[in-house]
């Protein structure tokens, strides 16, 4: 009798059950300081009392808070509604990229380059160097690998060195791919990553025929850019800007985009870098910290910087971007846009560095000039630094073999963020990713320790900052961020709407 009563009370008291969730204090200083996130990426900002009530089964049914928890799958009511179909759908949306093989294929057609950038001493060869070009046979095999991927949309990106120094190989590869695609019928995008210094009419004609995009490097105003990118004639900036204009004249304004390399010097001038992008009328800027790979150990000290310095730079830069976007300039920061997609939508950006399971090899493949295949550009640079552990095999092996390689297995075994020490308890894991290559490079261990991980510091810093803006930023800040989310103009996002 007594037992029976207790059971009854116990069931009554627990009118709901918990679903898996994580939480994190955000140190915002305001009341709703705790971020709750579900496995599938739903989130809520709650206060201490709410978190306590939630975990003690004390949340009153029929309150708004209770319904919010139900609707976002933090709790469920046994016997009333089974939320697993929705949660399964959310998982599927967020991990949708898993249904596709590698979509990004990087062809390192040559290592030769006219620059002598300090941060890139090891992944280039002198202009006249020989034995640094992708052979015809290897290029042909790489095209076979490309089409072995089941991805319906493929990006073929040419890298170097300076790929325009090996333009004949580029032309050949594009032609093979276009030919094959008559039968394959994929959606193919070609991109050439180049300084644009070696553009010719002939190259532009070919680019026009094949709707090739150009991706260039623009580090900021002339003094900064030229200091970062020395050439014998000291005119890297002038030649790149001329190239940008030329591409736009011939192929249209959006045929060229630019990436920024942030050196220690850059971190002092966020506004100047952004102003340069406004002056060149770009619509997006990419403010990524320097990756550790290309360094020669000697110059590492001069060029590398603690991630905290980068985060301070990022916050300043973002504040400035938010400001100028409200003045009617459209300039988005691309990594922020990717994180916004991860946070604000049920989908994943699918971006290689923000995937779990990791994107190295599963999302992208690099065909190196020497005929070896790497899971990422960074893994390739490790080799140039003298590490040879991260190659998947040679371009002559079938894709299934490359993706079944020991290296790939090792990367994936340490590439599921939800299962990594540190990440598995982190409330930000649904929006973050796993980067075993970076951890291997920095800590000589693909799993690595989060406390010493600059990947973690970067993503945690950025995610917390963006969550802060989404929660506390005024309506106009929301409008800018939402305009980046869907690449709409600021004026088109007239009201932010429900903040979620």
């Amino acid at each position: 009798m007594w037992d029976f009563a207790v059971t009854l009370i116990a069931t009554d008291a627990k009118h709901y059950r918990l679903l898996p969730f994580r939480f994190m204090r955000m140190n915002t200083g305001h009341d709703r300081d705790i971020l709750l996130t579900s496995d599938t990426g739903e989130y809520m900002h709650v206060n201490d009392a709410q978190l306590r009530a939630l975990s003690y089964f004390d949340v009153q049914a029929s309150t708004h808070f209770y319904k919010d928890l139900l609707a976002r799958h933090f709790i469920y009511e046994p016997g009333r509604h089974d939320p697993f179909p929705e949660m399964a759908a959310q998982y599927r949306s967020r991990k949708d990229f898993l249904f596709q093989g590698p979509a990004l294929h990087l062809f390192v057609v040559t290592l030769r380059c006219n620059h002598t950038c300090q941060y890139c001493q090891v992944s280039r060869a002198p202009l006249g160097g020989s034995g640094h070009d992708l052979s015809e046979a290897d290029a042909q095999a790489a095209v076979d690998r490309l089409f072995e991927s089941n991805a319906p949309a493929l990006t073929v990106e040419f890298q170097g060195g300076e790929p325009l120094l090996a333009f004949e190989r580029v032309r050949q590869i594009v032609e093979w791919v276009v030919d094959r695609n008559v039968v394959e019928q994929r959606d193919i995008q070609f991109v050439i990553t180049t300084t644009l210094h070696h553009l010719t009419e002939e190259i532009l004609d070919f680019a026009e025929q094949n709707r090739i995009q150009f991706s260039t490097s623009l580090d900021g105003p002339a003094p900064l850019h030229n200091a970062n990118r020395p050439t014998p004639s000291r005119d890297s900036y002038e030649r790149t800007v001329k190239g940008i204009q030329w591409v736009r004249e011939r192929l249209g304004h959006d045929a060229v985009s630019a990436l920024t390399t942030l050196t220690s010097r850059s971190l002092e001038q966020p506004e100047a870098i952004i102003d340069e992008y406004v002056n060149q009328s770009f619509s997006s800027i990419s403010l990524r910290p320097l990756s550790p790979y290309g360094f020669a150990t000697k110059s590492a000290h001069r060029l590398d910087y603690p991630i905290e310095r980068y985060l301070a730079f990022y916050k300043k830069a973002l504040a400035y971007l938010l400001h100028i976007n409200q003045q009617g300039v459209y300039l988005s920061e691309s990594y922020t846009s990717l994180l916004l997609k991860n946070i604000l939508t049920p989908f994943s950006s699918g971006y290689v560095d923000l995937r779990s399971p990791a994107g190295a090899g599963t999302a992208a493949l690099v065909y190196n000039y020497d005929g070896y295949v790497y899971p990422s550009d960074e893994a390739r640079m490790l080799l140039e630094m003298g590490e040879d552990g991260l190659r998947l095999g040679t371009v002559q092996q079938p894709l299934s073999e490359l993706l079944g390689s020991t290296v790939m297995n090792a990367l994936l075994a340490s590439g599921v963020a939800e299962a990594l020490p540190g990440c598995s308890d982190c409330a930000l894991v649904p929006y973050c990713g796993a980067d075993p290559v970076e951890h291997y490079a920095r800590q000589a261990d693909p799993i690595g320790h989060r406390v010493f991980s600059s990947f973690c510091k970067k993503n945690m810093g950025l995610l917390k900052h963006i969550f802060g803006l989404l929660c506390d930023g005024d309506d106009n800040v929301q409008r800018v961020l939402l305009s980046w989310l869907n690449r709409r103009s600021y004026n088109d996002v007239r009201f932010p709407g429900y903040r979620g």
């Binding site: 739903e42 029929s62 708004h64 319904k67 919010d68 139900l70 609707a71 976002r72 009511e77 009333r80 509604h81 089974d82 179909p85 929705e86 759908a89 959310q90 949306s93 604000l344 939508t345 049920p346 989908f347 939402l482 989310l485 869907n486 709409r488 996002v493 007239r494 009201f495 932010p496 709407g497 429900y498 979620g500």
Partner: protein
């Protein structure tokens, strides 16, 4: 503004059995014959549109082998035929050439089942339903009315084949599963140019066998309007008065998505659904990202809604904020969203770009205030069932200046 009814009275003669007839002019009869009907038809399915003047000029027309004759005016002279014929319509505008009408012996009522060129045509499937929504505009009846299936299959044959929107609704059309599937397949075969929109509560789709059935039909222009009234089971089940409905509808929605169907979510705005409307928008976006359109709809003050007035009525002015939050949440995330059935004077100017003239021509109404209003040509107006009790305190004619603010913000 006059609304065009879907029925009127005629004087009907020599009709011995119920009939579905396609109204056709002499010119069409000569030029196209049976090809005027999208599907298979016989001459007996045609009702010749025959004004007095033409008949008196050429009396031999009465020997044409058609199913009957329609005189769209009072009869002049004698009608020399024992074949079915209709004349003296009470409202001469209701039936027009191209339409398909239903008539039954002993009843002067002529129902228009298909109106040529209209986008509000409907295949009515059944009066039955497995829910009992508090605001149901057509309270379900527990009857066996399978005959609708046959009638609709005939109706499809007699329609024009032109590009138009065609609705299928009830009641709950999925209750007659085989009939509905047959109708959808026939729509695809006979009316390939018409886009089909089915209104269903989606509950029965929880049975996964629908996936294969719908995939097999693979209609290229078929969409489903499925209502969702809350982001949680308790609230939704209360509105539809059916425990378990929320779970069933959600599973149904996923099955529809698996069958690659085009899905619209419909929300009727009332006192119960508006308090958590932004949260509902959030729920739809997060859990049903395949949804192609969200329709937020003003309530129709008819049927059960009248009975449940106290529980349902909320002045639209009092949910403007909630509506705006929900609309911009969806719009900013790229989900197409529309506001149906709300007069322009009841929504803020910045929402007017989402407002549609959504009320079918035959049940649309504009009240006295509207007559002088600058917005009247762009406004959804009211349902013909509109009464004072359901009228917002905010209804007011918009001046030309006020309306131009709406027009500006719609750009």
């Amino acid at each position: 503004m006059a609304m065009l009814r879907k029925d009127t009275h005629f004087e009907i003669h020599h009709l011995n059995e119920p009939k579905l007839l396609k109204v056709i002019t002499l010119d069409e009869f000569i030029e196209q014959g049976l090809a005027v009907c999208a599907g298979s038809a016989e001459f007996g399915d045609l009702l010749l549109w025959l004004p007095n003047e033409e008949r008196l000029r050429s009396p031999h027309l009465l020997s044409l082998p058609v199913g009957g004759f329609l005189i769209p005016e009072p009869l002049i002279g004698d009608f020399d035929s024992m074949r079915p014929h209709l004349h003296s319509p009470k409202d001469a505008d209701v039936v027009q050439p191209g339409d398909v009408i239903a008539i039954t012996p002993g009843n002067a009522m002529v129902r228009v089942l298909y109106r040529r060129g209209s986008d509000s045509n409907l295949l009515f499937m059944t009066d039955r339903c497995n829910s009992l929504c508090l605001m149901c505009s057509q309270p379900p009846k527990d009857i066996d009315d399978r005959w609708h299936i046959e009638e609709n299959l005939r109706l499809i044959d007699l329609m024009d084949s032109d590009e138009e929107n065609l609705g299928i609704s009830g009641g709950e059309p999925t209750l007659y599963r085989d009939g509905l599937l047959e109708i959808l397949a026939k729509c695809k075969a006979v009316l390939p140019q018409k886009s089909i929109h089915v209104l269903s509560n989606g509950r029965l789709f929880q049975d996964p066998s629908w996936i294969a059935a719908l995939s097999a039909i693979s209609h290229p222009q078929l969409s489903w309007g499925i209502p969702l009234y809350a982001d949680n089971a308790e609230d939704h089940d209360h509105v539809v008065q059916a425990p378990g409905a929320f779970s069933e509808t959600l599973q149904g929605l996923y099955n529809l998505a698996r069958a690659n169907q085009i899905i619209e979510i419909r929300v009727v705005l009332n006192r119960l659904t508006t308090p958590r409307l932004p949260e509902l928008a959030h729920y739809v976006f997060r859990n049903l990202p395949f949804v192609r359109h969200v329709a937020l709809m003003g309530i129709e003050s008819t049927g059960l809604a009248r009975k449940n007035y106290e529980e349902l009525w909320i002045d639209p002015l009092d949910y403007q904020e909630s509506l705006s939050q929900a609309v911009y949440f969806l719009f900013n995330r790229g989900v197409p969203v529309s506001i149906y059935n709300l007069p322009l004077c009841l929504i803020p100017a910045h929402l007017s770009r989402f407002a549609r003239q959504s009320i079918s021509d035959w049940k649309n109404l504009f009240i006295d205030t509207c007559q002088q209003c600058a917005a009247v040509k762009h406004c959804s107006g009211f349902f013909k069932s509109h009464t004072d009790r359901w009228q917002s305190r905010g209804v007011q004619l918009l001046s030309t200046e006020a309306f131009s603010a709406y027009a500006r913000s719609a750009q």
